[in-house]
Amino acid sequence: MKITPLIGLEVHLELETKSKMFCGCPADHFGKKPNTQTCPVCLGLPGALPVPNKKAIESCLQIGLALQCSINTISKFDRKQYFYPDLAKGYQISQYDEPFCSDGFLFLDSGKKIGIERVHLEEDTGKLQHKTLNGQKVTLVDYNRGGVPLVEIVSRPDLSSSAEAKEFLKKIHEIIRALGVSSVDLEKGQMRLEPTVNLCLENEIGSHYTPLVEIKNINSFNFASQAIEFEITRQAEEFSQTGIEKSSTNKTTRGYDAVKKNTFLQRSKEEAKDYRYFPEPDIPPFIIDAGYVEKLRQKLPLLPDQEIANLEKLGIDKKDAKILVSSNNQVALQTIKDYSTNSIVDIQKLASLIVNGKINSDQNLIEQYDKLTKIGTTDRTELTKVVREVLATHPGLVAEYQGGKASLAGFFVGQAMKATRGTADPQTLASLVADLLS
């Protein structure tokens, strides 16, 4: 029996706009005193109305472009309706059938193409805390986070392993950071992950699909990977015992337990949620023209895969290039760029030294490079050959030097430096010139 895991990822990103998605409250809510950053709109008071944040929309479109999506000409917001204390209005303003971006993709390093179904915009909910007050079990609600812009990225179930899922998540993480629209700090909940897993089991008779399982409450890539691993094994076993196949009504939600490293059933199966989506009547639709999209595309910063490709073109080793881009070390990357046309500095060597931690960005990179590389090439035997060659090329000047023009020593050293592409120790060269011409 051939088992192919089918893994899809839903990623939620908190955008770092100044204000919330539909009102002017500050979006930076982490660590603030409860309910100190709310207004009639995000607190869901009667009569309040939403007005969309332009920057949030732009950021969503940028993310879509970075993920090779089509930007839909017509899009709108919709109401997703359900009751929960952290949802002030009793509905979340999200996007349903006409999202901003759709049909994109991302390449894994293996060359495998992972489809991106959509990238859309919505608002975050408030935060709940469970407590016992005066013997009563209660839930405390803080709406500071309510209304913060969230971008949702939904992949197609094209991922086939936990490793691929992890790589996918890392790439998304890097792209978002490169765009500068969110710090995507997982510990702060700025990037939330929800894998959906099921299996395709093939035998001679045909294919069978296990029921879909959505896994929630995962806040690290490693946990995501572990949860997926566990699910794959669990589902295979469950199928061999029950033979239950996927249907339109048996999708379940499971939570991830980081301590036990397993997933557990979170909600007993109930009817598929009826969100009663309908177009948000308080917000006019969006008509996004191609010209505007083009302008946005041109304003996109260099994305990780492009940067890696550019570094490779400079002769840098792919592995080193990936690490450099991933480290997001802007100083290092800029220095490499600056010296890429400098013939004295060996870019590959520089990159390698940075990647191996021999050079740190606290001090001038080139100074450190000089020190390290020069110490590396004080080989007299090697350098003697070089100096001899230089002297042989300039017999006239040698004669002048020997006739008393001592300043020519500098010229010979310079030439020798050039010949060694700047990797020689100038003092060694100087002493060799002096020796050979004495």
């Binding site: 002017g24 409250c25 100190t36 944040n53 609600v141 969230l150 006019p284 969006f286 996004i288």
Partner: protein
């Protein structure tokens, strides 16, 4: 056009979706009233809308947004934000426990 009957069971389902507590009396009454209303609404099927798109908004407006700026004039102080609530505690709104697990996850 066949007359539509909305059953008390359906009414119960809807009441749950709508988060409305109903007595069994109310459920039965609503079932009757619904059926009457639905039959009126079904008259809409007499209108041919095959080539007609739906209108969700009559303004004809599009692309209405606001700049990404903090609007201090509308922010409510914690005191005012909590003022009209029946139950509050230490700056939080209070509801009786919603789910049995101790996770702080939301449905999203």
């Amino acid at each position: 056009m066949q007359k539509v009957i909305v059953t008390p069971a359906e009414v119960e389902k809807i009441a749950k979706l709508a988060n409305l507590p109903l007595s069994s009396q109310e459920t039965a009454m609503f079932a009757d009233q619904f059926s009457a209303t639905v039959n009126v609404i079904n008259q809409l099927n007499e209108v041919d809308t095959a080539s007609v798109p739906a209108t969700y908004q009559v303004t004809g407006l599009s692309n209405v947004t606001r700049e990404d700026l903090v609007d201090t004039s509308r922010i409510l102080s914690q005191e005012v934000a909590l003022r009209e609530a029946e139950l509050t505690h230490d700056g939080f709104f209070v509801v009786s426990r919603v789910i049995d697990t101790d996770t702080t996850e939301s449905v999203i």
